[in-house]
Symmetry: C2
Subunit: 405 residues, 2 copies
C-alpha cells in the first residue's frame, strides 16, 4: 500500500509547528512528510521590528529549519511556491512540481497597501529578514551620509512610520532606542532627527485597552515620536509622503525613510490558485480545512477564523498560527489513520504584549494589565515560548532572549 | 611686551605634530599657541582604507584632539578655514577671524580628480571619517538590497576602485577580507561579487619594487580582484564607469560602487589665498617657510619638497608630514627667541609598508624587502608609531593595533 503524502508549504509559525508536531505524532511508515519553504531558515516574524531598527542582529531572529525537523521523517525542499493546482493535487514550484494527498497551506501574509500610490515603490517593509536588514541599512546610510553634504539635509534624518498597529508601535519602540546610538555613531545632533507615526484610524493600537494605549503613546512621545492620528497617507513619493486629516488640505511630509507597517493580507498564492478568499484569507471550516477541499488545510495569516464573541475575525498572530498548527498536526494524524472525526479549532487567547523597546512594554496577560519592566519581561517570556514550542529548550538556549533585568 | 601668537591650521599628522612638539619646547609666557581644526578629533588618514572597507570601526581611526594637547599652553578652536589673508596676517574662519604672528598651514590634501567627468558626483572617496563610513554603509546597503529584488542585479555587487596606488591597493586588501563577511551577513553567493581595479599608469604601485608589486598583485588576484592596468577612467556615471585602454574603443563597466583613490592634491585654500602653487602644493624653502612670507610655514600635503636624488617631489605621506612638524616646532621656538638661524628640513625615509589586509603586506624597511606576516607586523608597528609620536604610550594603548600573530 502506498503511503499517503503530506505536503506543508511555508515554514513560518504555523507550518513549522505543524511539521514538528506531526513528526512526533506519526511513524516513519505511516506517511511521507514534505516541508517546502523559500528559505532554508525560519524567522520570527514578531521579532522583525528589532532587526529592522538594528537593535537585534537578523541572525538572532532566524534559525535553520534543519535544526528542528527530524530528517528521518521529513523531506525538506527549498523552493518557492508558484501556484497550487488543487484539482490536480499538485504544488507548482519555481523549480518543479510536488503532488500531495494532504496539503497544509501556511504561506504567511503579505503587506496590504490598500492601493495607496507609491507605497510599493518607495516604502520599506518589516516583512521578512531581507526587508528588515535592508531597512536597517537604509537608515544607517542616511545617517552616514548626513555629514557628507555641504547643505545639511534634515529629511535624511526624518523617518515616517505608516501605521500605529502592533508592528508600527513595536518598531517605534526599538527605533527610539536605536536613534541615540546612530547619532553617536555618525556625529549627528539628535535634535535634528524626526520620527513621525501616521495612523488613519482614530486611535493608536485599535482594540487595545485605552489606558495601556495612553501609556504607550506618552512613553513614545517622551522619546521623540510625533503621532498624527486620524490621518491618512494619500501617497508615497521619492521625497516622502502626502497626508490628509479628515477634510483638511493634503500636505507633504518630507522624509527619506518611509516604513509601511499598517496592514497584512493573506498570501497572493491563495487567490492565484482559485480559492475563495477575502484579501487573501480563506474562511476555513472548524477543522481548519477549506470548504469543498477535504485534503487542504489553511492556517496562519491566510486563514480566517471568526471570534464568536464579537463576530469578527481574529487578527492574524503568531499565537493563533501555532495553535492552529497543533490542531492540524492531530487532524492529519487522524486522517491518515482513517478516523473520520476531526478536532475543532478554538483559539485560546493567552494574552498580548506589545513591546516599546527592550526595556518597556504594555500588555494584557491572563486578563491582567501590565506595563513597564514587568510587561517587558513577559514579552521575553512570550518570545522564548514560541522558540520552545517549536524547537524545545535547546532552541531557547541558542536563540532566546535573556537580557532581562 | 606682547607675546607672539602662533596659529596652526589643521590637526592632521603635520599640524598636530607641530602642536605637541611646540607645547613641550616653549613656556607658557613665551607665546600664545592656537590650533584650529574643522573637527574636534584627529583621524589617521593612513587607516581610512580600513574604516572604508568596514574592517575597522571609524572610532578606532580617530581620537579627540583634547587628549593630546596641553590646554594650559594651547587654545583649540573648532572651525573651518575659509581663507588666509597673508598680507593682513589673518585667518578667516566660517565663524570669525584669527590674527597671527606666525602661521603653520597644515590643512591636508584633497582628492585630485584630474577633471574626469562625473567623479565628483558619483564616486566615493577614502578621504576622511565622514566619507569612509559613508562608503562602508553604501557597500553594505548594496549587499542588503541584493536579495530584495525579484531580478537580481549583480551590478549591486560590483565595486570599481579607481587607482592602484597606495590607497587603492590598501583598500583592496581590506575589501577582499570584508567581502566574505558581507556575503555571509546578507546570504549572497560570493561568486557574484566583482572587484575591479582600474589604473591608468602602466603598473600597480608605481615606484615600488617590481618583485613586491608582483607579490601584491598575485595575492589580490587570488582573492578575486581583477586588474585593468594601463586603462584610464574616462567618465563616471550613475551606472558605473567608462574606461579605455590605449587606442581601444571606450567601454562601460557597470558597478553600483565606484571608489576614487587615485590622487591627492594640495588644499584648495592655498590657491584661494593667493599662494603660488602647483596643484595646491607650495614649493617651500629648506626651512619649510613660504618664499616671500617669513611668518608662514606650510607642511604636509600642501607642501612640496624635492627629493634631490631623483630631482622629483617626495610623495605626500604621513611620515614626511610628521617629520616636517618636528622641524617647524623647533624653527618656531627659534623664531620667538629671536634666533635667526633656522633648521633645514631633510626627509629621513624610514621605509614604506603597504598593507594587503590585516594579515598580509609588502614593504621596504631599513632597505630590506619584506612580505606576508612579517610585513603585516611591521605595518602595525608603523601605525602604532604615529600614535606614539603624537600622543605617547597612553595613546598607543588606547588606539593601537595589537592584533598581531
Amino acid at each position: 500500500m502506498r503511503k499517503p503524502k503530506i505536503v506543508i508549504v511555508g515554514a513560518g509559525y504555523g507550518g513549522l509547528m505543524t511539521t514538528v508536531r506531526l513528526q512526533k505524532l506519526i511513524g516513519v511508515n505511516e506517511a511521507d512528510i514534505v516541508l517546502i519553504n523559500k528559505n532554508d531558515y525560519h524567522y520570527e516574524t514578531t521579532w522583525l521590528h528589532e532587526a529592522s531598527a538594528g537593535t537585534l542582529h537578523h541572525d538572532r531572529v532566524r534559525y535553520d529549519i534543519s535544526d528542528v525537523i527530524d530528517k528521518s521523517k521529513v523531506d525538506f525542499i527549498q523552493d518557492t511556491v508558484v501556484e497550487i493546482k488543487k484539482e490536480d493535487k499538485k504544488v507548482v514550484l519555481e523549480n518543479g512540481e510536488v503532488d500531495y494527498d494532504y496539503l497544509v497551506i501556511a504561506l504567511g501574509g503579505e503587506p496590504e497597501t490598500f492601493g495607496i500610490k507609491g507605497l510599493k515603490e518607495y516604502a520599506f517593509g518589516i516583512t521578512n529578514v531581507n526587508s528588515s536588514r535592508q531597512l536597517r541599512e537604509h537608515i544607517e546610510y542616511q545617517f552616514a551620509t548626513y555629514n557628507m553634504e555641504e547643505e545639511k539635509d534634515d529629511t535624511r534624518l526624518a523617518i515616517v512610520v505608516g501605521g500605529a498597529g502592533f508592528t508600527g508601535i513595536e518598531f517605534l519602540g526599538e527605533l527610539t532606542n536605536r536613534i541615540p546610538e546612530l547619532c553617536r555613531e555618525y556625529d549627528v545632533d539628535s535634535s535634528k532627527v524626526k520620527i513621525i507615526c501616521v495612523e488613519a484610524a482614530p486611535t493608536v493600537l485599535p482594540g487595545f485597552d485605552p489606558e495601556l494605549v495612553n501609556y504607550a503613546v506618552s512613553q513614545l512621545e517622551r522619546k521623540g515620536v510625533e503621532f498624527l492620528i486620524g490621518t491618512a497617507i494619500k501617497e508615497a513619493t521619492p521625497e516622502g509622503i502626502i497626508v490628509a486629516k479628515g477634510e483638511e488640505e493634503p500636505r507633504e511630509i518630507k522624509a527619506n525613510t518611509v516604513v509601511w507597517a499598517a496592514g497584512v493580507r493573506g498570501n497572493s498564492i491563495i487567490e492565484k490558485s482559485g480559492f475563495e478568499a477575502m484579501r487573501g484569507r480563506v474562511k476555513v471550516q472548524p477543522d481548519l480545512r477549506v470548504p469543498g477541499f477535504d485534503d487542504v488545510f489553511i492556517i496562519g495569516d491566510s486563514s480566517l477564523v471568526i471570534n464568536e464573541e464579537i463576530n469578527r475575525p481574529y487578527p492574524p498572530t503568531a499565537q493563533i498560527a501555532m495553535q492552529q498548527g497543533e490542531v492540524v498536526a492531530r487532524n492529519l494524524a487522524a486522517l491518515i489513520r482513517n478516523k473520520s472525526e476531526l478536532e475543532t479549532f478554538t483559539f485560546d487567547n493567552k494574552g498580548t504584549v506589545c513591546s516599546l523597546g527592550h526595556d518597556d512594554a504594555i500588555g494584557v496577560v491572563f486578563g491582567k494589565k501590565i506595563t513597564g519592566s514587568k510587561a517587558s519581561f513577559m514579552k521575553k517570556v512570550v518570545d522564548n515560548r514560541s522558540l520552545y514550542m517549536i524547537g524545545g529548550a535547546g532552541l531557547v538556549l541558542k536563540k532566546g532572549k535573556f537580557n532581562v533585568f
